[in-house]
């Protein structure tokens, strides 16, 4: 009985024991499940962390800028350049990298470090002495050593954003000052270095505070939890998600060191908006708010950035400086309390003013150029890759030339509309348009491209896609075709002739009436004389003109009609500018270059493009064309250039098409070539000429970029000689007889052999007798 009682007692239910057992088993099971889940998550974490952690938009850069003593320069342009490069003006001698002081025209600059594949350099102070628009001297600010050539960093032009439009600059934790790291811990997680991913004390404190206030006042999340939340989880607030976040935090703490977790966190967190772009990560934020890399942040600046993490757009120093200062001070007080900075350091930081550097909202610079470049970049990389691979794309664009071109076009078109109000149209998409392309002829570098008046209204790039008649701007190619048989002194007919074209009569007229019956080739090109040009084209043959022009790689068709001589076919402005480059480059046609180099985020070059040229004519013939086109500027259709402040020798050609639908000017020196086109997209009349509508824009552009005009002229190549000829006959001048002897250039093989027939000295009787004897004998 006793034994049966014992058995009964053994079987008796003990709720406490059962509960204990149940709890134990449940906990064990939960631990196993959590462990399995942790292992599962750890694989996910490893997968994400071992690959590319973030999508970094690829960055497009301008070309570097070279400055040297003796160079002409606009002091204001250099100031703008420094501002675009995020240098900060100070009223004392620059002490830190990224600062500059302007004194009159001169500058003292503490250059930033540059670490790019196109330029790598540690920053140093430099003094640039400028007087009357010329750099007198460049000296090292410390050693006083003279610097013969200084290269300024390229400017950021564009980012290939993904759909999230994040701007991020990765930093390494070794480059973040210890006190700045501490500032983030002070703001977000003071026990970061001590806990294992979860801060139980913090959770309890948060729970107490929230219960007391009846609302959520504190989150209690550690930095690791925040990282787990930001990086792996969706934003919804659910219990299961919170559990997942905690498990993730625990797993991450097991997998990575504190330094690694903090680095990922500082690269991940959101620091507010720059226009439509999200500023993400400490690297980008330090530049956005303080104009300096994270490595150079002070304690106060670090505390400011840490302080604004809770509400970046509300507490931003750009939005509410006072609130930003209060948050900064809270962080600094915590740092002092934690013993991370001394009381004295805290006091100094608290007393320092909060001065954000100022910023420019991200905008697409040189938009037409960027479209042109994007097509080339997208031929090499998928758009998605460009948005996330963090490539560095280096271009040939010169931001100063680009700005000058944009301003010159805007001012020029406005001036035309002001002078003739009938050109002003209300509809934005029907307004007077223009385009500019600037190229360095020898290398084909595209320095600037303005494809239209307003990119926001019309993205149609008139430089690369418009097909317009060049008018007289095509004439140099006709004259080049003739240089095998004719020379600049050859006399052409200026008598009107009617030609039969496809059964129809066609009679070219000159733009303005001209009494002379004959003109020299030089005069015909300089004054853009239509009748003489067609006369020349017909003499050499239209097929020859087409053959010559085709070598210049025009993609538009060139048909052998007499009107071809007057440019009555279509060309693409970029192709016309490129063709003119061959004249300025010894007869070598350059491939237009916009993209120079593409590097990855480890500064390895992935793609590179070098200058490429192909010969299309001889240096001697190119030189003769340059010479004849210099006459167009000196005395011909482009002679107004001198009055517009361009005093140096320039070769140039105007172009005006029927009913003034198009106005062109292509002008160049050995260093630079610019083409300006003005017209309406719908073919309306600009009521002006190349000289009155396009040329002033060219002149304005050149006045804005004096550093690109050296005053030099083309060197005469072998095969070109000069002779004194009679301006009337084009033959060798007879000393003392010809009234207008002029020095003219010739190809060596086409030098005139005979003396001027119009101004022969009176023959002596004996000479005359012998001449007649000779004539008689010849007849025999």
């Amino acid at each position: 009985m006793a034994s049966s009682n014992n058995k009964k007692s053994k079987r008796r239910f003990h709720p406490v024991r059962f509960l204990a057992k149940f709890t134990l088993v449940t906990l064990l099971l939960a631990a196993v499940v959590m462990a399995v889940y942790g292992v599962y998550l750890s694989r996910d974490i490893e997968k994400r962390f071992s690959g590319r952690r973030w999508s970094i938009p690829s960055t497009v850069y301008s070309d570097t800028t070279l400055i040297y003593p003796g160079q002409r320069i606009r002091s204001d342009a250099l100031l703008e350049k420094l501002q675009r490069l995020a240098y900060r003006a100070v009223d004392h001698a620059p002490k830190q990298k990224g600062q500059f002081r302007r004194k009159g025209e001169s500058f003292e600059i503490f250059l930033n470090d540059v670490n790019l594949i196109v330029l790598e350099r540690s920053g140093f102070p430099v003094k640039i002495d400028i007087k009357k628009g010329t750099i007198l001297d460049i000296r090292h600010g410390l050693s006083g050593e003279s610097i013969p050539l200084l290269e300024l960093a390229p400017e950021e032009l564009m980012l290939f954003f993904g759909p999230e439009r994040e701007q991020r600059r990765l930093i390494s934790i070794e480059n973040v000052p210890q006190q700045v790291q501490r500032a983030f811990m002070a703001a977000e997680d003071t026990r970061f270095m001590d806990h294992f991913g979860l801060d139980l004390r913090g959770i309890l404190r948060a729970a107490y505070v929230n219960l007391r206030h009846g609302a959520i006042h504190q989150g209690g999340s550690t930095i690791t939890q925040q990282l787990a939340k930001n990086y792996f989880l969706t934003p919804e607030k659910t219990f299961s998600r919170k559990i997942k976040e905690m498990v993730l935090a625990l797993v991450m703490e097991q997998m990575y060191t504190k330094a690694q977790i903090l680095e990922i966190y500082l690269n991940e967190v959101y620091f507010g908006q720059k226009g439509s772009v999200a500023v993400t990560g400490l690297g980008e934020a330090s530049l956005f708010y303080f104009g300096k890399p994270a490595a150079q942040l002070t304690v106060a600046e670090g505390a400011t950035l840490a302080g604004l993490l809770r509400a970046p757009n509300r507490d931003s120093p750009y939005v509410n400086a006072e609130r930003a200062r209060q948050r900064r001070d809270q962080v600094l007080h915590t740092m002092v309390e934690q013993g991370w900075i001394s009381a004295a350091e805290g006091a100094t930081a608290l007393a320092s003013p909060l001065k954000p550097s100022g910023f420019k909202v991200y905008g697409k610079k040189a938009p037409y150029f960027m479209d042109y470049l994007s097509r080339q970049a997208e031929a090499l990389y998928a758009r998605d890759d460009l948005a996330k691979l963090g490539l560095s794309i280096f271009t040939t664009l010169d931001t100063e030339v680009q700005e000058a071109a944009e301003k010159a076009l805007a001012v020029g078109l406005e001036r035309l509309e002001k002078n003739d109000p009938t050109l002003r149209r209300r509809e934005p998409d029907r307004r007077l348009q223009g385009a500019i392309i600037v190229i360095q002829p020898k290398t084909g570098y595209i320095l600037a491209m303005v494809g239209g008046r307003d990119y926001a209204t019309s993205q149609f790039n008139r430089v690369t896609h418009a097909r317009r008649q060049p008018g007289s701007a095509f004439k140099p190619f006709v004259f080049l075709s003739a240089l095998n048989r004719f020379n600049p002194a050859s006399v052409l007919s200026n008598t009107p002739v009617t030609y039969q074209v496809n059964g129809k009569s066609w009679r070219p007229d000159n733009f303005s009436p001209m009494a002379a019956q004959t003109v020299t080739m030089r005069t015909a090109l300089a004054h853009s004389i239509n009748i003489a040009t067609v006369d020349l084209a017909m003499k050499i043959g239209l097929d020859e003109v087409v053959r010559t022009a085709s070598a210049f790689d025009f993609s538009t068709p060139l048909a052998p009609h007499p009107s071809l001589a007057l440019g009555a076919m279509e060309v693409i402005p970029l192709e016309l500018a490129r063709a003119y480059c061959a004249f300025a480059a010894d007869g070598l046609l350059p491939v237009p270059l916009s993209l120079k180099e593409i590097g990855d985020d480890h500064d390895q070059v992935l793609n590179r493009r070098h200058m490429a040229v192909e010969p299309v004519t001889t240096p001697a013939k190119a030189f003769l064309i340059n010479s004849m086109l210099s006459s167009a500027v000196a005395e011909g259709t482009a002679r107004s250039l001198k009055g517009l402040g361009i005093g140096q020798p320039v070769a140039g050609k105007t172009g005006t098409t029927n009913e003034s639908r198009d106005a062109w000017f292509v002008g160049y020196t050995p260093e630079i070539l610019a083409l300006v086109w003005v017209g309406f997209d719908d073919g309306g009349s600009v009521k002006g000429t190349g000289a009155s509508a396009a040329l002033p824009i060219w002149a304005d552009l050149m006045r804005r970029i004096p550093q690109h005009l050296s005053g030099a002229w083309f060197q005469r190549p072998a095969g070109v000689v000069d002779r004194v000829i009679c301006a009337d006959s084009g033959q060798l001048a007879v000393t003392g007889r010809c009234p207008r002897p002029v020095r003219e250039l010739f190809l060596e093989e086409l030098v005139p052999a005979d003396p001027c027939p119009l101004h022969q000295p009176p023959q002596s009787r004996l000479q005359k007798f012998f001449e007649e004897v000779k004539e008689f004998v010849d007849k025999l």
């Binding site: 003796g70 570098y445 120079k596 200058m611 010479s627 030099a712 060197q715 022969q760 025999l780």
Partner: protein, 164 residues
């Protein structure tokens, strides 16, 4: 034949007479232009009597406008950097530097020589030949450079001959 002989006689007599007349002071009739202008070129109206020494105008810019020294020096400095890069077998960097040199001073013809060297280093003899031709064209009159350019030309031709 006889007619021709008679005509020659007549000319001889006329020549004698004219020779005597040369001693007289009577003015001569103006001489006509001996050679007519080529077909499409109408003869211009007779020119007025010229000044004894009409000044010779130039129809083109003065050619001696060379690149100003500071600019040329900056460009040459880049050329020198490129030479060092070639010596360090960094062809791409050298080409980029030479492009900069040419952009600053298009008259810096030495850049062509080194561009040819850089392309040789990269193993592209065709491009090297192209720049060598430019170097020949621009440096051909420079005694110091002529032999270097010719030597380069030979090396390029050897390379091209080796290329299948």
């Amino acid at each position: 034949m006889w007619t021709n002989f008679k005509r020659l006689n007549r000319w001889l007599v006329l020549a004698l007479l004219l020779g005597c007349a040369g001693c007289a002071t009577a003015p001569l009739p103006p001489s006509r232009p001996p050679v007519p202008a080529p077909a499409p070129i109408p003869t211009p109206s007779p020119a007025p009597a010229p000044a004894p020494e009409a000044p010779v105008a130039s129809l083109y810019p003065t050619e001696s406008i060379r690149t100003p020294p500071p600019r040329a020096q900056a460009s040459l400095r880049l050329t020198e950097q490129a030479r060092q890069l070639i010596a360090a077998r960094k062809a791409d960097e050298a080409i980029r530097t030479l492009e900069k040199a040419l952009n600053i001073d298009p008259q810096n013809s030495r850049s062509y020589y080194y561009l040819a060297e850089a392309w040789l280093l990269k193993g592209d003899s065709n491009r090297a030949a192209q720049f060598n031709r430019l170097a020949q064209s621009h440096l051909g009159n420079d005694r110091a450079w002529r032999s270097k350019v010719n030597n380069q030309k030979q090396r390029i031709h050897k390379n091209l001959a080796r290329t299948p």
